[in-house]
């Protein structure tokens, strides 16, 4: 393995992985006739995964290949079993994320540790514990039964969305490895779409990720400062990615089972399809938020709906909606930042400054802080 890969650490890690897999499979399936060859083959498969993953822009590649391409069935079933086991609800969310990145996306523990700004030992321990639980509690290695499927797919998508946000919300520049995490999550969502083409929420989540990624570069100015949607250079958006996202959403709509990811993607589509901030279809966006709130009520979605109302019904109407969310969102910096914007629109400058100060006390993110400080100045 070392000779083939020219990388001892990688080879060692892959063989370790293969051994772990052996420990998990052999008790149930029996020891294969040539255990040595089995291990080598398994380790080689894992190596192929690694290189596939390391190809630059592989999410981009997947997008160009088209999302309709199906993974051949035997390999596909195996991957699905792996995904569903890694994202089993009996594992903690942290463990699900680490295991999925390790076993499905093929990241090394060092890469996962960098992406989550934590130590390699922490990630390694998380993975070891999760694997131990899989074995000791006998978490089955299989695609869930039909009656469990919807719930289990939701669980997988929640893991991928968390992974995506973790990467996407990271600041520019200094944390490039975290940005890669968003690409990894999109690649995994693409894999889910190819493996389960009839799951509309997987299509919706992949579309949502593509719309966000299409705007990823335009979110920051040259000095790494945060650019708001209304100020972004729309010419800098990745049109190909947007088009592929729209195609995914249309495919999802044909299945006629709407869900929260499809609706969030549809809202993002309204933004990316508007040629300018002024041409944004706020009426449509509010209707989509209503549908989203009916399916998955959340104060954050209500806040976003209120922001959209500002452009349709004015700042006072929006502020009334926002104030009603004071209770659940008092510790959310965007609640106070939004309030500040609306208060300033209404000429209530001193109230606006108070709200901005409160917002500033609630975020650690340097790019977000810089933006708020600029407004306070």
């Amino acid at each position: 393995m070392v000779r083939a890969l020219g990388d001892f650490d990688l080879a060692e890690e892959l063989v370790q992985e293969a051994l772990l897999e052996a420990v998990e499979h052999w008790p149930a399936e029996g020891i294969p006739q040539k255990p040595g060859a089995w291990l080598l083959t398994t380790a080689r498969h894992k190596a192929a995964d690694q290189f596939r993953r390391r190809a630059r822009y592989r999410e981009k590649l997947a997008q160009l290949e088209g999302d309709g391409m199906r993974v051949d069935t035997a390999e596909g079933d195996d991957r699905l079993r792996l995904i569903f086991t890694c994202c089993h609800p009996a594992l903690s969310r942290e463990a699900q994320v680490a295991l999925t990145l390790r076993a499905v996306a093929g990241l090394t523990t060092a890469e996962i540790a960098r992406a989550f700004i934590t130590s390699e030992a922490t990630i390694a321990q998380r993975i070891v514990r999760a694997k131990r639980k899989i074995v000791e509690a006998n978490i089955p290695y299989r695609v869930p039964a039909e009656h469990d499927m919807a719930e289990r797919v939701d669980e997988v998508l929640a893991v991928l969305y968390l992974m995506f946000n973790e990467g996407y919300l990271a600041t520019a520049g200094s944390h490039a490895s975290r940005r890669d995490l968003a690409e990894d999550a999109a690649w995994l969502a693409g894999l889910m779409v190819r493996l389960m083409p009839q799951q509309p929420e997987a299509l919706g989540l992949l579309a949502l990720m593509r719309f966000h990624l299409a705007r990823a570069e335009a979110r920051f100015d040259q000095s790494g400062g945060l650019m708001l949607l209304q100020d972004q250079d729309r010419g800098g958006w990745d049109r190909e990615r947007i088009a592929s996202g729209i195609a995914l959403l249309e495919r999802a709509a044909l299945i006629q089972r709407p869900g929260p990811y499809q609706l969030q993607a549809a809202i993002a589509a309204c933004h990316v399809e508007a040629r300018s901030w002024e041409e944004t279809d706020w009426r449509q966006i509010i209707l989509l938020y209503d549908a989203l709130l009916a399916l998955a009520p959340s104060p954050v979605a209500q806040l976003n709906r209120a922001i959209a109302r500002r452009y349709l019904d004015g700042a006072q109407a929006a502020l009334d909606d926002v104030e009603a969310l004071a209770d659940p969102l008092d510790n959310y910096y965007l609640f106070h930042a939004t309030r500040a914007e609306l208060l300033r629109d209404l000429g209530r400058d001193s109230d606006a400054r108070l709200a901005l100060t409160r917002a500033l006390s609630l975020t650690e993110n340097p790019a977000e802080r810089a933006l708020l400080e600029k407004r306070l100045a």
Partner: protein, 119 residues
């Protein structure tokens, strides 16, 4: 594979249960009996426990046993009973636990298999 389902209940609900008139309690047992009936083929053991007020805890202070009144931890939940089930895997145990009718949390734990001969 064997698992134990630990049936817990909030203390408030456990107290209500305790205070129920006998006839009402019998009626409330209906769904629980149905659950045991449905899974009788999978259930290989278990007991219902007397309420928490009957609990006695033995603690060890530098090796010396100290007997105290009450449960071993003071929490919002109390253990009401347990069932040992023999099923294929964790998913099957979870599926059973999901149908437990009292509304209390159910903890699922695999039983350590020491490979002892079946009697």
């Amino acid at each position: 594979m064997k698992y134990v389902l630990l049936f817990t209940d909030s203390k408030d609900r456990a107290r209500q249960w305790d205070a129920m008139p006998e006839a009402q309690r019998q009626a409330a047992y209906g769904p629980i009996n149905d659950w045991f009936g449905k899974y009788s083929g999978k259930i290989t053991g278990g007991q219902e426990l007397q309420p928490e007020r009957t609990a006695t805890t033995i603690r060890f202070n530098n090796g010396k046993a100290v007997v105290t009144d009450g449960p071993f931890i003071e929490g919002k939940e109390t253990i009401g009973g347990y069932a040992e089930v023999t099923v294929a895997d964790l998913d099957e145990a979870i599926a059973m636990a999901k149908e437990w009718p009292t509304g209390g949390p159910v903890e699922v734990r695999p039983v350590i298999d020491r490979g002892e001969p079946q009697r």
